[in-house]
Structures are given as structure tokens and as C-alpha cells.
């Protein structure tokens, strides 16, 4: 294969790998901008992945699966908000509780319902998965390498959720910076007392933010089990929620830089997958474990702040109480 084709395919793969990261990172962004630590996105995604695959497998409709995924992730978000906002519990502990609980609950329910050793059945029927959307003349355009291949592979041929994720980046930026809700959301993460003094409910704003993050995680989880793969398997998020969070921190809690960080992660991942089994000139065959560990190593490196200090919202992780 010539290098141009390789690059185009690599970029297309990057976009597909980036999709759940982008959705999860935006979820984290809304939650953390309101002052609630978003470690729970891992569990919300995993829960949605299971619910979407289970419902799609039994009903035969990926759209019903999406509904179930969003419903479950939102319910988990509600639980986190109940613990952290209403009862002012420790936000990190609440998130980890949800993550661990969901990691057990998915396989436990899958075993009881489908009896396939903790997985859901393969989704191979028509309409059970989100399939590729072919743009007009994509097949014909493939014949002409440039820009035809670019059009056919990079722009066309992804599923709906990929396009949704990309569209949500400017939309989130608009909501955060150009709407009244966005202004209040940013304010409540920096100085909840000021927001409270202005007569706006801190509790309500934080609930809204956490619920938004639940909906986004629902879509991300659904993507994992019904679009990127064909069914739910144990621990299928494999830390993607934490990667997304790292991308968000690297992106300094702003939509566009966060999107860029997600693309960087995804590109590394796509590149690593390509390198699997390839013999490099000096090193020989790269161990598969090194390739698998690469995104995690990259996360640590990015968090180590070799690229400048990141400043979190001032009130993050602090439960709000009127008395102080």
C-alpha cells in the first residue's frame, strides 16, 4: 500500500477511535466545569455499553439500545449527583463506587440473562448496530485517489455517532461560552457562593451538569458496544473514561483543545494498532503489550504536565454548603 492510502486509513481510524473519547471528555467537561469531579464517566460508559448491547440484542433495534444506554448512564449520573451534590459525599469515592459496581453488574446481569459467560450475544442482525453512513458518490469517488479517497474514507463511511461526536464539539463550545446556562455553569465551578448570592440554585445547576454528562456517556457507551464492536464484553471500556478525563485536563477544560487531545490519543492508538506485528528496523517485532500500554503511558506523560500547567475550575471537588 502506498503511504498516502495508509495515512488516509490511519486518519479515518483515528476518527473512529476518538469518538467515544470525545463524547466522554465532553461529558467530563460539563461535569467538572460545574465543580463535580467526573471520574464516574468510566462507569457510566460501561453501564451504557452493557444496556445498549443487551436491549439491542433482545429488541433488534440499535436505536432502542441507544435509548437504554442513555437511560442507564443518566440514572448512574443521578446517583452520583445524589451522593455528591445532595448529600455532599466524597466525589472521588462516589465515582469509584459506581465504576466498581458497574464493572461487576454488567457481567453479572449478562450471565443471568444471556448465559454466555458475562457477555451479550453477538449483534449481527440487521438494525442491531449503528452501521456506516455512505455519503453520495463515495463508492465512485474512491477511484480517484485525491481527493476521492479522502472523501470516501475520511468523510464518508462512518456511523451516525461519529458525526454526532464531532458536531458536539462546536455545540458544547457554544453552550459553554455563548449561552446564559453556560455562563452560570462556568461560574458555579469557579465560585458557587457568587452564583448562590445571585439567586441561582447551585444544586440545580450541578444536577443539570452531571445529567448532561450522563447523557453524553450514554451515547459513548452505546457507541462502544453497538457501533465500534458487536456486543458487550467484560471491562470493555478499559480505562477509556480515565483517558478521556486526562485528555480533558490536557485540553485545560476547554472544548476545542480537549478535542485536539482526544485526537492525539486516538491517533497514537490507531498508529499502535497498525504497528502490531510489524517488524521495525532496529528493534525487531514490537511486543504487543507495549502497544497496549502506550495510551496509558501517554496519559501519564500528558498529565505530568510536560506541556504547561493546567488550572482546574476553582471549586472542583468541594461540596457546596450555604453556611460557610
Amino acid at each position: 500500500m502506498e503511504s498516502y492510502t495508509i495515512i488516509v486509513l490511519l486518519l479515518a481510524a483515528t476518527l473512529r477511535v476518538a469518538t467515544p473519547l470525545v463524547l466522554a471528555a465532553l461529558a467530563g467537561l460539563f461535569s467538572e466545569r460545574s465543580g463535580v469531579i467526573a471520574l464516574g464517566i468510566e462507569g457510566m460508559m460501561l453501564g451504557a455499553a452493557f444496556a445498549a448491547a443487551a436491549v439491542s440484542a433482545t429488541s433488534g433495534s440499535a436505536w432502542l439500545g441507544l435509548g437504554a444506554g442513555v437511560a442507564v448512564a443518566t440514572a448512574l449520573a443521578l446517583l452520583i449527583a445524589f451522593a455528591c451534590v445532595t448529600h455532599r459525599g466524597n466525589q472521588v469515592v462516589a465515582a469509584m463506587a459506581v465504576n466498581i459496581m458497574v464493572a461487576g453488574l454488567g457481567p453479572a446481569l449478562a450471565l443471568a440473562w444471556f448465559n454466555l459467560g458475562g457477555q451479550t450475544p453477538q449483534l449481527d442482525g440487521a438494525g442491531q448496530r449503528f452501521g456506516a453512513v455512505l455519503w453520495p458518490w463515495a463508492q465512485a469517488a474512491r477511484e480517484a485517489p485525491f481527493p476521492g479517497l479522502l472523501y470516501a474514507e475520511l468523510l464518508s463511511g462512518h456511523n451516525l455517532i461519529v458525526y454526532l461526536a464531532v458536531a458536539l464539539v462546536p455545540f458544547s463550545a457554544w453552550v459553554l461560552y455563548r449561552t446564559r446556562f453556560g455562563l452560570r455553569l462556568r461560574a458555579v465551578g469557579e465560585n458557587p457562593h457568587a452564583v448562590d448570592t445571585a439567586g441561582i440554585s447551585v444544586t440545580r445547576l450541578r444536577y443539570e451538569a452531571v445529567l448532561i454528562s450522563g447523557v453524553l456517556c450514554g451515547v459513548a457507551g452505546t457507541y462502544l458496544s453497538t457501533a465500534a464492536s458487536a456486543g458487550f464484553v467484560r471491562d470493555m471500556t478499559a480505562g477509556k473514561g480515565y483517558l478521556a478525563l486526562a485528555a480533558m485536563i490536557f485540553g485545560k477544560w476547554k472544548p476545542w483543545p480537549t478535542f485536539g487531545a482526544c485526537l492525539l490519543f486516538a491517533f497514537t492508538d490507531a498508529l499502535a494498532t497498525r504497528l502490531q506485528g510489524v517488524t521495525l528496523p532496529l528493534e525487531g517485532v514490537v511486543p504487543v503489550q507495549l502497544i497496549l500500554a502506550l495510551p496509558y503511558v501517554l496519559t501519564v506523560l500528558l498529565l505530568a504536565g510536560f506541556v504547561g500547567q493546567a488550572v482546574a475550575p476553582a471549586a472542583i471537588g468541594v461540596p457546596y454548603s450555604k453556611e460557610k
Binding site: 459525599g89 466498581i100 458497574v102 478499559a238 503489550q289 496509558y296 501519564v300 498529565l303
Partner: protein, 375 residues
């Protein structure tokens, strides 16, 4: 501030009653999940209790699992006192176990009394080393320690898979395991030790490491509440600003507490590898690092509480595996669900039951106070 005179609960309610209520709530929700799956919660509870405490063998296995959870629970608690949430006990136990396992492989022909200190030192050093980078990054660069320790769990897993599959594997063998340790690297079993003093006990994996874990719990108590360093850890954890005024460096406490935490988690290999498996194999911590979070939270980060919580989770692990034999629709993932629920109710939702309890006890104490003034 609030108008109610004292919102504090009596000590026995705070340390005894509240955890029991939170645990009960977690178990009730777990029971609902079992019912949802289509099995009887009562039957499941009975099977689990019998499986965990019904015989000498059951008790031996329960305490054997509990030993792992004491190590990881203490690890999480020490970090927690410094204000750090160490999610990385799993990876630290994995890498610490590598240290212990290497001693077992290379020095196993030594007599046991010489192997043991080497194995303890190697486990502690390897575990601490694995905790060091996240700790340093937190202290110096402000990198969120929760995320970095989680990443180090994944990296540990990849590294160990590489080492076991490609480097340490016993030659000419398919399954990813090393060769067996020589006899000197084998922890004396509880049945052997009790047998020597004439007490019969069924052969189980329960071994000397259990007593080491109990000793460590005492040492951790002494460290936290009876030494200068422990005091510094607790001050920095409760109020970093006050710590700075008192001349304590929060950055140094962060690194020191995490090194200690990693070392404690790293000793898990003494029980799991030298006590039971006698070789290095894949994924031997088996989630004990995450159980340690639940154990520490339930035990209120106090060594005594951790011992009690570790036995409880040992019983859940042992009873849970018994349960999956007898109820094929329930598997060991159910135990993970219960862990998550315990963390949720004992950690995140602890205020839910505290407020009503405070109301009850303050009402009581106000009545008592009025009784005194009337007289």
C-alpha cells in the same frame, strides 16, 4: 454555624453503629440485585455464610483471602490519612508480588528464615517503587493521583503479562506461569503450624502471612498515632495549609505516604505467591487492590476496622466462590457488585444515615440536658 449545640455522634455510634447500618443498606441492595437476577437472596445469603464460616476449611479460606485484603486495606488507609486516594494498590500489589516472586525463584534454595526477610524487602521495595512515580507527579507536578495510579494499574498489567509470557515463563510450557519456587520460599501453612502445637486444622492456603498482616496492622496504628511522621501525615491530610504553617511539607508527606502505601500493598505476594501459588502467574492480585478501597472505607481507615472489614470481604470472596458453584446464575461478579455498593454506602453516601442519627442523638441529649436544668 448551625444552632444545634453538638452535631457530633457518640464514638460508639460513629465507629460501630454507622458502619453497620451502611453495610446493611449495601447488603439489602445487593439482595435486590440477586432477586432481580432471579435467585432467592435468603438462599444466597445462607449459602455464602455457610461457604465462608461453615467448616474449618471455609474459615481457613476466608482468613486467607482476608490476609490479602488486610495488606491492600492498610495500603489504601495510609494514603487516605495523607489525603490521597490510592486506586493503584492493585498495580502496586502486582509489581510488589513480582519482587517477592523473584526472590522465591532465585533464592528459594536458601533456608526459609533467610528467604523471608529478602522476600518482605523485595515486595515492599517493588511496591513502593511502583507508587513512587504517581506520588512524585502529584507532589511536584500536581498530576491527579487518582488517574495516574489507575494508569499505573494498566501499565503494571501490561508489563507483567510481557514479563511472565516472554521472559519468566518456564521453558517448554504453554500456560503463562514461572517454574515452582524451591521449598525455602514456601510460607508455613496454618495447619502445619497448629499441628506442631498439637491443634488439628484442615489444610488450607491460610499461612504465616496472616500473622504478618496482623503485625503490620499494629505497626500501622503505631505509625499513624504514635510517631511524629504519622502525625505529619494526618495533619497534611486534614489540612495542608495548617501543615505548612507547622513546618510540615505536604509534598514530602505525599511521597512518603505513597511509598509506605505501595510497600504495604506490595506485600500481598507473601500470602498469595509464597503462601499459596508457589509461582508467579498472571493477574494474581485478582482485584484485591480494589477490595482494599472498600475495606479501608468500611473500616474507617483504622487498623482495627480494617481487620474486621477484611474478614468480612474475605468471607464475601470465599462465600461468593461457593455461591457460584451452587447457583450457576450467580457468578463472582456479584461479589464485585457488593464491593461497589459497600464503597457507595460506606463512603459516598455516609451522610445519608448520619443526619437522621444525629437528629435522634441530639434530641436525646437535649432531653437529658433539659431534665438536668428542671431539677
Amino acid at each position: 454555624m448551625s444552632a444545634v449545640p453538638s452535631m457530633k455522634l457518640p464514638r460508639w455510634v460513629e465507629l460501630g453503629m454507622l458502619p453497620v447500618i451502611n453495610l446493611a443498606a449495601a447488603l439489602v441492595v445487593s439482595g435486590l440485585v440477586v432477586r432481580w437476577i432471579g435467585e432467592s437472596p435468603w438462599a444466597a445469603l445462607k449459602l455464602m455464610t455457610d461457604g465462608a464460616f461453615g467448616s474449618q476449611e471455609a474459615i481457613g479460606y476466608t482468613l486467607y483471602y482476608a490476609t490479602n485484603f488486610i495488606f491492600t486495606g492498610l495500603a489504601v488507609a495510609v494514603a487516605y490519612h495523607a489525603g490521597l486516594f490510592n486506586i493503584g494498590a492493585e498495580g502496586q500489589a502486582y509489581i510488589g508480588g513480582l519482587g517477592t516472586g523473584l526472590v522465591g525463584l532465585w533464592l528459594g534454595h536458601w533456608p526459609f528464615w533467610a528467604v523471608l526477610p529478602a522476600a518482605v524487602a523485595a515486595g515492599a521495595v517493588f511496591g513502593a517503587a511502583w507508587a513512587f512515580i504517581p506520588a512524585w507527579l502529584q507532589a511536584r507536578r500536581g498530576s491527579h493521583i487518582v488517574i495516574t495510579t489507575i494508569m499505573f494499574n494498566f501499565i503494571a498489567s501490561a508489563l507483567m503479562t510481557y514479563l511472565v509470557v516472554n521472559v519468566l515463563i518456564k521453558p517448554g510450557q504453554q500456560s503463562p506461569e514461572t517454574r515452582e519456587f524451591a521449598a525455602g520460599a514456601s510460607m508455613p501453612g496454618m495447619h502445619a503450624m497448629l499441628g506442631k502445637i498439637g491443634v488439628p486444622f484442615t489444610a488450607t492456603p491460610l499461612n504465616l502471612a496472616f500473622f504478618l498482616a496482623l503485625g503490620l496492622a499494629a505497626l500501622v496504628w503505631v505509625f499513624l498515632w504514635r510517631t511524629r511522621w504519622g502525625y505529619a501525615v494526618r495533619v497534611a491530610g486534614l489540612n495542608p495549609a495548617a501543615a505548612v504553617y507547622a513546618g510540615i511539607s505536604p509534598a514530602r508527606v505525599t511521597v512518603g505516604a505513597m511509598l509506605l502505601s505501595g510497600a504495604l500493598a506490595g506485600l500481598l505476594g507473601l500470602n498469595e505467591l509464597m503462601g499459596s501459588q508457589h509461582r508467579i502467574l498472571l493477574d494474581f492480585p485478582g482485584g484485591a487492590g480494589f477490595v482494599g478501597i472498600a475495606v479501608a472505607l468500611m473500616g474507617r481507615n483504622h487498623p482495627l476496622g480494617i481487620l474486621a472489614a477484611a474478614v468480612l470481604f474475605g468471607a464475601l470472596a470465599q462465600g461468593g466462590s461457593q455461591l457460584s458453584f451452587d447457583m450457576p446464575r450467580v457468578n463472582r461478579d456479584m461479589v464485585v457488585v457488593i464491593q461497589g455498593l459497600v464503597i457507595l454506602f460506606c463512603g459516598a453516601l455516609e451522610n445519608v444515615f448520619r443526619k437522621p442519627l444525629e437528629a435522634v442523638f441530639n434530641f436525646g441529649s437535649r432531653l437529658a440536658a433539659r431534665g438536668k436544668t428542671d431539677r
